[in-house]
Structures are given as C-alpha cells and as structure tokens.
C-alpha cells in the first residue's frame, strides 16, 4: 500500500491506483478529457498534468501510478499554467460555437476554459474549418470542428461493444473521427458515445437542437425498456421528458444503456388516457369510483367472483402491484390472477434483456410462492373456454403476438365487462366499458425489481400534462372504499413499508426470483 502526499494531505492507496484516482479520493478534482474510468487510458489530451516532486516534467495524473513517498501538487501555479496552455492549444482550431452547441452547459471544455484559461484568443491566423454535421450512423452526428480527439468514442466501440466502428483518420489538424467508408456507427449502444464525448462533437439525432441543457430538470429514474432496469437520469422540461441518460450503477448498467432504452421516453407522452371514462363518457374520479363500484358489484352478482380475471402489469411499480393484489383478492375476491405486460423481444449478452417489462420479478415477489399470476396464454385459454366473463386489466399491454393477439382482442369484445386501468389506451381502449387513466413511472415514485433481483427506487419527475391520471394504488384505494372493503393506505411511505415487508416474506426460502437483500437459503 503506497503512501503519497497530495496537496499536503497524506493518503494510503492500493498498488496500481493512479494519481487522478488518489486525488479524487481526497476530494481534488483533476481536470481531464480523455480519461474515463470504464475505458483504457491513452493519456492523449494532457489536461490532467500534475506536478510530481523529483519528476522533471509534469506527469499525466490519469496514467501515472502512485508510488511510495510520492509528493504531488495538483493545484499549484505550474500546474494551473500548464492547464491554461493545454486549453489554449485545444482551442486553436475550436470553433467556440457554444451558442448553437447542444453541449453548452454540460461541456468540459467550456467549464475548464472558465476555470483555467478565460483569456481572449491570441490567435491571428484563420482556424481550420471542417464538416459541421457528419452522420456517423443512424443515431449519432459528428462535428469535426468541435472534436478534441480524445478518442473516448473510438475506445468505447473497441472496448465496450467490441464493434470497432470508429477510428481517427488523417493526422495533425486534419484528424477526424470516421467510420470505414460504407459502414455506419450502428450498434445497439451507439448513443453512449454521445454521453462520453466531453465536448459537443457527438450529438444524438434525437436530442440535437431540442432543448438547452440548463433548462432540463433531472430525476433519478429507471429505464422501462426491458427487465435490466438500467438506472437513468430522466431529464425533463415543461412537463415533457426530453431525454434519458444512463446513471452510473455498478450493480446494473455501469455507465451505459441501450439506444432502444433511450427512446422509451417517447411512449410516456403517446396515446395517453387522460380522463376516467365509462362507456365513452367522461367523469370525475369520485363519480367514476361510485359508478365503477356499482358496475363491479353487479358483475360479481351476475357472473360470480371466480369468473372475474385480474391482470397484473409487470410495467407497474411494486407499490402499485402490492395494492393491486390486495384489491383483487380482498376487495374483488377473485383468485384468478394473470401476468400481463409486453411480449418478449430480442435480448443480447450485455444489457438488453428479452423480457421487455421492467418489473416481472416485482409482480412475482408480491405473491407467495405457488400463488403467482398465471401466464397470459392461460388467460387466452380461459377466455376461449368461457370460464371468464369479466376482466380487470392493469396496463393495456398484451403479451401476445400475431394470431393469438388477434384472438385475444376479439374474445375481449364479447366479455360482460372490461375495466382498463392504464396510462395508455392501445387497442383495448375501444372495448373497455370502464377506463381508469393512471400515471407512468415518470409521474410517480415507485420501485422496480430487475431481472437479477436488484430492486431500485425511482423518483417522480413530472406531473401528467392536462390529465386526471392517478397513481394506480390511489385508484384501488378509492374503489375499495366505495366497495365497502377499505384498503388502509393514505400515505405512500406506509404502503411502501408494507410492500417491502411482503416482498421480504414472499422471497424467503429457495426462490429463483431472488429478492433484494434476501437472506441466503439456509443449509
């Protein structure tokens, strides 16, 4: 364990720790462009130069490993001068078009310039100009003038995806990032290079010129694109989600997320149900609760509780599912539970999971082993046999494709009752007698459990826009009250505590859907 002194403070570090890492541990931020903790270290930008006593020249902190007795200065006059000089070099041909650059406001070059350079240009020659919008692939656009050639994007494609699409071509002031002629930057994670780019050289086609970043507000959220549940920053402006960015989570997605996941935000604003409806007429929540309670009572009397099916959505949060189960079992009194959600898609061996629902494990963990919701194909079968006459669906997703899907939709038409409690309408909205609009995960707090059993909370980002959409759990509590079997929840935090207790209890003993922090199976 070498010991070193950084800016007068002593620190013990593991062998192999770099000066930059050791300084960070002490709270000294060494400015850097090319270094990224998940990539190899080329030490090409020279922004991180620091003074190491007894070394003749300044050394790159990102690459230099701490040795015993090393004395380092990261903020002294010589170092600050070097940073200024490095920035001046980097800016020689930089267009400084910050006013029209999407990166402005979250640009390392801009920030470091203000911290260390902050002089007007001394250059008296004309800058080298380059192409301003070169499409590298379907999602990513490159600006050659802004590029500082740190090669983070190149290394990402070489080391993380292994797809090797990008490279530096030419040299000197002609250098640029390119793909091989006729090939594209086209992998399932390509937009990660946009996050990696420390400047505005790489922009995503989706976010280009859409919103100034200083207008964005950010919530810690979770991607709902598949069962991986990548941690994300969900960034919004004016009650609309503008983009998703991966949020570092060593247990789930590290620094990355897939391109398809980034686009899941679009769904949050599409095809939304905005007002409670009965037979197409819109009502307030108190009215709709009253009428729905009547209709449900009538149906129960008419067809019997065991002809009522309840579909649990793996798109819903654990909290909502916890109350949903209570509602189905204790209020409706049906034990015919089915698993809804989206149909499976393609997965890969990195992050993308074939299950396109964020909370299947959450659904499972709301039930004791052995009483978990039956697969949706079973529901199809039960509808065909006529043993089900009424359907209460959470979520409008149908986990079937092709003919089975068509068969399901036409069977639903003949039901005595379809209640659709969902954020989006989809193809079932037309057949639902009762529609109860609910919030998406962006509009509420909640918890998802991913494919590996990692539970993650997500925060509320926005309010539903011009909409009466409610949290699922509140809808259940409201209906229960009218049905005379009150569910005892008024506050989210109480319900969350009960939910975690239930999850804990349900995950005991050997269980494939391992719960978070579940004790290891005994013996």
């Amino acid at each position: 364990m070498p010991t070193c002194t950084i800016n007068g403070q002593k620190i013990d570090v593991d062998r192999g720790t770099t000066v930059l890492q050791a300084a960070a541990e002490l709270g000294f931020d060494v400015p850097h462009f090319c270094y990224h903790p998940a990539l190899s270290i080329p030490a090409n930008c020279r922004m991180c130069l620091v003074e190491v006593e007894k070394a003749r020249k300044l050394l790159p902190a990102c690459y230099t490993q701490v040795t015993e007795g090393m004395v380092v200065h990261t903020e002294n006059e010589r170092v600050v001068q070097a940073r200024r000089a490095v920035l001046e070099f980097i800016l020689v041909n930089h267009p400084v078009d910050c006013p029209i650059c999407d990166q402005a406001g979250e640009c390392k070059l801009q920030d470091y310039y203000l911290d260390y350079d902050a002089q007007s240009s001394r250059q008296r020659t004309i800058k080298v100009t380059k192409i301003k919008a070169f499409p590298l692939g379907p999602e990513v656009v490159y600006d050659g003038e802004r590029c500082i050639l740190c090669t983070r994007c190149v290394r990402f494609c070489d080391e993380v995806t292994g797809t090797n699409e990008l490279t530096v071509v030419e040299r000197g002031d002609r250098s640029a990032i390119r793909t091989f002629p006729g090939r594209d930057l086209d992998n399932a994670y390509s937009m990660c290079v946009v996050d990696l780019c420390p400047v505005g050289a790489l922009t995503s086609r989706d976010f280009r010129f859409k919103c100034r970043v200083w207008l964005l507000q950010s919530a810690d959220s979770v991607c709902t694109g598949c069962a991986r549940d990548c941690s994300v920053h969900l960034e919004h402006h004016d009650a609309e989600v503008q983009r998703l960015r991966p949020r570092y989570n060593p247990e789930v997605n590290e620094y990355w997320m897939c391109d398809a996941g980034r686009y899941t935000y679009r769904e949050l604003h599409e095809d939304r149900l905005t007002s409670p409806l009965i037979n197409g007429a819109s009502y307030t929540w108190p009215q709709v609760a009253e009428k729905t309670a009547d209709i449900l009572t009538e149906t129960v009397q008419g067809v019997g509780t065991e002809s009522i099916a309840f579909v649990f959505s793996p798109q819903a949060s654990c909290e909502d599912l916890f109350v949903a189960r209570k509602f189905a079992e204790e209020v409706l009194g049906t034990s015919r539970h089915y698993m809804g959600g989206k149909p499976d898609g393609q997965g890969d061996d990195f992050l993308i999971h074939a299950d396109k629902n964020p909370n299947r494990n959450g659904v499972k963990l709301m039930f004791p082993r052995g009483s978990r919701p039956a697969p949706f194909t079973k529901l199809l079968h039960d509808l065909e046999s006529g043993s089900i006459r009424a359907l209460y669906m959470m979520g409008s997703d149908i986990p079937l494709v092709g003919e089975q899907r068509q068969a399901f939709v036409s069977l639903v038409e003949n039901l005595d009752l379809l209640v659709l409690q969902a954020p989006r309408g989809g193809e079932l909205a037309a057949h639902a007698k009762i529609i109860l609009p609910t919030r998406t995960h962006a509009e509420k707090e909640g918890t998802f459990v991913n494919c590996d059993g990692v539970a993650q909370g997500f925060g509320k980002a926005i309010d539903p826009k011009r909409s009466a959409a409610q949290d699922d759990w509140r809808v259940f509590v409201r209906l229960a009250q009218k049905l005379g079997a009150a569910l005892p929840y008024a506050f989210f935090k109480d319900l969350r505590a009960d939910m975690f207790a239930a999850m804990e209890a349900n995950s005991r003993k050997t269980d494939t859907a391992a719960a978070p922090e579940a004790p290891a199976p005994a013996g």
Binding site: N164, T167, V169, R171, F180, R183
Partner: protein
C-alpha cells in the same frame, strides 16, 4: 468479399511478411502489408484497405486509421512514375521550390496532379532524410540526390536528364 486479391508473387511476399511476426500479432504486419497492397493495387482504395483488413483479421476501421495517417500511402491513383520533391528545410534552401515550379512547367500539371497520359504524378513531400544531399526527389522507390542548381536560363540539367531517362517527351 473484397473484389481484390493478391497475385501469386504478392501472396508469397505476404506470407513472408507474416512469418516475421509472432503468431497472434498479425496487426504488427500492417505497415508492410499496406506497402505491398499499394504496389499491387496502385493506391489505398476502399477495396484495397478492406482486403488488407480481411487478410490481417483486423477491423477495417483500424486499417483506415493507419493508411490515412501516413502520407506515403497514396489516397488516390498515381501515375506510373510518382515524382516526389522534397521541400523541407535543406532542400528548400537549395531552391526546391523553383525545382517544383520547373517540373510543373515541364509536365504541365500543378503539384498534386497527374499528367493526362497517366505517366507522371508530381507531389511535394516533407524531408526525405537525405538533407546532406539536397536538393532531392524520390521517384517511386528510387532516390535522386544532388540535383544541382538551375542554369542561367533557369533549366535544371540534371532534372532534364532524369526526365529523358523516364521517357518524358516535351
């Protein structure tokens, strides 16, 4: 599959190049293989780079990287004789710039161009590393040094002799 393929003799040379590097280090053979490909196919066409990538089992982007970094790999087709005049410091002192102009006049092209008959390409290059023998030029693989100085009338006798040797007709 790339449209190109090494001829029988080039293939032999290629295998010989490969044999110089340890197993599993095909990437190390990139520079000589690119030279071989340039000889074989004329210049660094997309097909040529793709072919080299396939033969060395490298991502094509990495071949592009190296082929575009070095100016000695031609990015477009050159004439039968590629005349490269050094214009770095020692040669410049020895009137290399006038030499380039002289050749431009004679060949009827400006530096960087190829004659209409496809026989000559004229280029300016950086130091050929024979500064002590300036002015110097390189034609294909041959060096021509001590090119002397222009005569009274502005002609370069040694260069004229070279042009004649190369079959250049006025």
């Amino acid at each position: 599959m790339p449209a190109l393929e090494f001829s029988e003799s080039a293939e032999k040379q290629f295998l010989n190049i490969l044999s110089r590097y340890p197993e599993g280090h095909r990437r190390a053979a990139l520079l000589p293989t690119l030279h071989l490909a340039q000889k074989e196919f004329g210049y660094m066409s997309v097909d040529a780079m793709e072919y080299v990538a396939t033969r060395l089992e490298l991502p094509p982007s990495k071949v592009l990287h190296v082929a575009t970094f070095y100016t000695m790999y031609n990015k477009s087709r050159v004439g039968q004789r590629h005349v490269q005049v050094c214009k770095s410091i020692s040669c410049a002192v020895m009137k290399a710039y006038s030499l380039v102009e002289y050749l431009e006049d004679k060949l009827g092209v400006v530096a960087g161009e190829t004659t209409a008959d496809g026989k000559f390409t004229l280029s300016e290059v950086e130091c050929l590393a024979v500064c002590g023998y300036a002015p110097a030029l390189q034609c294909n693989d041959d060096y021509h040094i001590h090119l002397g100085q222009p005569a009274e009338d502005g002609s370069w006798p040694k260069v004229d002799a070279l042009l004649q040797e190369w079959g250049w007709e006025a």
